[in-house]
Symmetry: C2
Subunit: 157 residues, 2 copies
DNA sequence: CTAACTGCAAAAATTTTGCATGCAC
DNA sequence: GTGCATGCAAAATTTTTGCAGTTAG
């Protein structure tokens, strides 16, 4: 539920920092902006629709507009986990998404999982990988096991 | 804009194989199905919309429905390259997509680029990676250079 | 002939845009 | 008070569903 923020320096301290960063840009510190950021932090990762449902009083339009602002300010990031649903999450929550095609499960893996890939991409092509926007698709262990079990029987289909 | 097909082995041979696989399933070999498959092969990778534009006489609805059938039969695959746009491409065209956030360029990288990642995911978590559905996001060399150039000047803002 | 397929219309789902009012500063 | 933000309505996108006519097998 809560992520009793220990905040090494600037991570969850954001609620206050939000006001500061907004002012720097000449933007306003509205309650809706705080609510949207809080929702993203509480949900971990969620679609604009889920976030909207999580903040009753706020219009969907405002959610979209504020997610954009929050991402621009560096408070949230988004990644593409499935078909059309973009998933937003706290910027300080750094990890790689692993999604299972069969069961749809979304697992978070440590970012160093792609260090080798990142290094190779950079060395060979000068490409700087954005690890936070990174999604890996495939079949999780459970679904692989289930598929095997289905293929083994001689019954066919 | 012709695609004088040379067909090395079994790649583009699919036009005939398509008829066979369709019959196996009790499905019909309609001209639209052949046209959609041909379009995917000619475009390399394209969104349903682009494919639709590429096949004038065929309705968008039919494109969607046939892409589903073709994917089910294993003739095409799709991956998520950007926001909401799914990109379809020939199944035999195996590579990893590298997308630049800044300029939007989509580069194809050899599949072995993710071999290390695939192995590690499998060993550590029993997860079987689907390389064809794989997209890497970040900044290409050109855009990184452009960004550096912009930061260097002392003019600040 | 039979039924799968297609095209067209309409619905559903998702994200964006325009504008008058409201509220942060 | 000034003008950025919000909310509501409407538009623009994108994908799905229903149906009657068409056509492959």
């Amino acid at each position: 539920m809560d992520g009793h923020g220990h905040a090494h320096g600037h991570a969850s301290a954001g609620q206050d920092e939000l006001a500061a960063r907004l002012r720097e840009r000449g933007l306003r510190n509205t309650p809706q902006r705080g609510q949207v950021l809080a929702a993203v932090r509480e949900l971990g990762h969620a679609t604009p629709e889920q976030i909207s449902e999580s903040v009753p009083g706020v219009d969907v339009t405002t959610v979209y507009r504020n997610l954009e602002v929050l991402e621009d300010l560096g408070f949230v990031k988004h990644a593409h986990l499935g078909h059309g649903a973009a998933s937003y999450r706290p910027a300080e929550d750094d990890h790689v998404h692993v999604v299972c095609h069969q069961c749809g499960a979304v697992v978070d893996a440590p970012p160093d999982l792609v260090d080798a890939l990142a290094t190779r991409l950079h060395t060979e092509r000068g490409f700087v990988l954005d690890r936070s926007h990174f999604t890996v698709f495939g079949s999780c262990a459970d679904c692989v096991a289930a598929a095997d079990g289905e293929q083994t029987p001689p019954v066919g289909r």
